[in-house]
């Protein structure tokens, strides 16, 4: 192996792949077999974290950054004057195996620029996965990109070797896609996604009858949207997301704040800040939908097309629905407990466990780890101290903000001064 040449390719093709945020390595059921290499039946593992604070779980690279498309938001677009490189199939296999053996990674995340056509590209991605599984008896995690427009036969084969497949819809709205990637259309993204969805449904049905049905994409499908490259509202983004979760049984939708990489006038100019905070709020909303039992229409609708930036979406919802509070945490069901700002699902489960033994008071809640500073305006417990004043939503918001320090405080400072000041309740 020529290490110098490999190093050069790795630098180029890892750099080009880094804007794909998915790095999950969980959810697969692939156990080690016949004393081979690797096991991905456990939980996901983040092996290291880059200085931007993002986890590194997989060797995330492009097979090549040669591309026939010219999507404005993409760093590997045809018209961009950058160094190009391509890995051979065997080189990717060797890198994956050797990184894995040293416990650097959980597996491989392989994407690619499109060279020649969709099927030609998809075929090479599948060849890497196939070689890893069949020749190397590799049982680590493999995440392959579904290339938009790839044929059903190739998608069927891909799922036999990969744990997860994903195709990025990139731009949340069809009109945005038309503007930035005129050669692409939504239907091409949908096609492989639809095929994989159906294969997974079929696999699950057959598995019940025939036990040794070969596993098919056990960690499911995901997708990614770029945030802030086009001018969609948060509502448009999240409704798109919710419909993908529903229609394609996706495991995850990722939101990637646009990192300016081009002087194209259709896009935010270079030097514009990456919308990290907005990204964070979108993820919070996503979590509320998937784990907290919220419906998207409660969080975003005609009256609230965008998320608040200064407070999280659950608090924001609670402030709009003060008539539902306060909630008695010694009586309320799980569904309602999960809606109290300041209580995460871990606290909720602890409360449900602990209240079987005795009624809980403020001290108990603090010891358990609930964010009492926020929760106290929305709940009562086994104590005579509770919020008795009839505070308005704006007052509560002001009190909570003045008692908390957000890592985004710098950006928010101007807004903070606007709130009424009320003396905080101490418990």
């Amino acid at each position: 192996m020529n290490f110098e040449r490999i190093k050069e390719k790795l630098n180029i093709l890892a750099d080009a792949a880094k804007y794909d945020v998915s790095c999950s390595s969980s959810g697969s059921k692939r156990a080690n077999k016949d004393k081979g290499l690797g096991d991905s039946s456990g939980m996901g593992i983040c092996h290291t974290y880059t200085e931007d604070g993002r986890c590194v779980s997989l060797l995330k690279i492009l097979l090549t950054n040669h591309c026939i498309f010219d999507c404005a938001y993409c760093v590997t677009r045809k018209s961009n004057d950058i160094k190009r490189a391509a890995f051979k199939v065997q080189e990717v296999v060797d890198l994956t195996i050797n990184f894995y053996r040293r416990n650097y990674i959980e597996g491989l995340f392989l994407s690619s620029g499109i060279f020649k056509n969709a099927d030609y590209t998809m075929e090479r991605l599948v060849a890497v996965a196939k070689k890893l599984r069949l020749e190397e008896n590799f049982n680590g995690y493999i995440h392959l990109k579904s290339i938009p427009g790839a044929s059903d036969e190739l998608m069927r084969e891909a799922g036999l070797y990969a744990d997860r497949l994903s195709v990025n819809i990139e731009i949340p709205s069809v009109k945005g896609l038309k503007l930035l990637a005129p050669d692409k259309n939504r239907a091409d993204f949908i096609k492989p996604m639809e095929k994989v969805k159906n294969e997974i449904i079929q696999y699950k049905a057959e598995k019940k009858i025939i036990k040794n049905t070969p596993i098919y994409a056990p960690a499911g499908q995901s997708t990614q949207m770029i945030i802030g490259a086009t001018n969609e509202t948060d509502a448009e983004i999240m409704y798109t997301s919710a419909s993908f979760y529903k229609n394609f049984n996706l495991k995850r939708v990722y939101y990637s704040g646009y990192v300016p990489i081009s002087y194209d006038s259709r896009l935010p100019s270079i030097g514009t800040e990456v919308p990290m905070m907005r990204e964070n709020r979108l993820y919070q909303t996503d979590w509320l939908l998937r784990f907290y039992g919220f419906d998207i229409r409660e969080l975003l609708n005609k009256d609230t097309p965008n998320l608040d930036m200064d407070i999280d979406p659950k608090l924001s919802w609670a402030l709009r629905n003060l008539n539902l509070f306060p909630i008695d945490i010694n009586k309320a069901d799980k569904h309602m407990l999960a809606r109290i700002p300041g209580l995460g699902m871990k606290s909720v489960n602890k409360i449900i466990n602990a209240r079987r033994f005795r009624k809980l008071n403020w001290e108990h809640l603090k010891a358990i780890g609930a964010a009492v500073n926020r929760a106290k305006y929305f709940m009562t417990c086994d104590s005579r101290v509770y919020e008795t004043r009839d505070l308005t939503a704006a007052q509560i918001k002001g009190l909570i903000l003045s008692n908390s320090s957000s890592k985004y405080r710098k950006t928010l400072n101007n807004q903070l001064n606007l709130f009424d000041t009320v003396k905080p309740l101490s418990v």
Partner: protein, 255 residues
């Protein structure tokens, strides 16, 4: 005058102590492992010999009355080696034997809450070891890694690595406790080595490691750099996920 019971530091030793406490109806004795015990004027120190029959009786009793969660909490919090954890455990076990439904999930009880926090930190470090261990290929064809975890997590990580690296020989060595695991392609053995710290460095000296090893480490460092997005730099988050005390074993954090 209170008693101090000293045991050999092993889990069986601790369970033997628990047996003695119940057997002799001792009132609130202080329990200390031999590696930490110190004599004081005002209390009597008694050494408890590990007795596998007694420890098994206690453990069987726990298994019979409890579920896998109780086992997990007792064993993992013991491995934390935290000062005073033995006495919290004793309190927990007494309450558990008095009423086996009284402890699990009862977070309003101070011992239950403390142990649940300790278990959480032990499990967190176990998971970190699964992630942060970096093997280096030696000239003897063994993948070798050293660690210095805060807690004694070696027994907890054995299975994870055995399942995963079934076709390669490996050693994970805890420098702090001077013991390690060696997988010989069949089973995992407990080992003790005499190591010279300077032999472990890959840089410059390559007495122990292959040339290929240095090349892959170099590729990995390069990958680590290339996959970072400079305009999203967030060192606070970076350090939160990867506390600095682990850096010396992470090849990508060595310049």
């Amino acid at each position: 005058m209170s008693d101090i019971l000293v045991y050999d530091g092993s889990f069986d030793g601790f369970l033997t102590v628990v047996f003695e406490v119940f057997e002799s109806k001792l009132q609130q004795p202080k329990i200390e492992p031999a590696y930490r015990a110190s004599a004081t004027f005002f209390s009597e120190t008694r050494e408890i010999q590990t007795d596998f029959i007694k420890s098994k009786r206690v453990w069987d009793g726990i298994i019979k009355k409890g579920n896998s969660n109780i086992k997990r909490i007792i064993y993992k919090s013991f491995l934390s080696e935290k000062v005073g954890v033995e006495n919290i455990l004793l309190d927990y076990i007494c309450k558990f034997f008095a009423d086996n439904t009284a402890v699990f999930g009862n977070f309003t009880d101070p011992s239950v809450l403390k142990l649940s926090k300790i278990v959480k930190s032990v499990e967190r470090e176990k998971h970190r070891m699964d992630a942060f261990i970096r093997f280096k290929l030696t000239k003897d064809n063994i993948y070798f890694a050293t660690i210095e975890p805060d807690f004694n997590v070696l027994p907890l990580i054995s299975k994870h690595f055995e399942d995963r690296y079934a076709d390669q020989q490996w050693i994970i060595y805890d420098l702090k406790r001077n013991k390690g695991l060696y997988y010989n392609l069949n089973i995992v053995e407990n080992i003790t080595l005499e190591l010279k710290p300077e032999a472990l460095k890959t840089k410059g000296t390559d007495v122990l490691f292959t040339q290929e090893e240095l090349a892959y480490e170099e590729l990995w460092k390069n990958y680590f750099k290339s996959t970072n997005i400079e305009s999203r730099k967030n060192m606070v988050l970076h350090v939160k996920h990867m506390p600095k005390r682990y850096w010396k074993y992470l090849s990508e954090k060595q310049l």
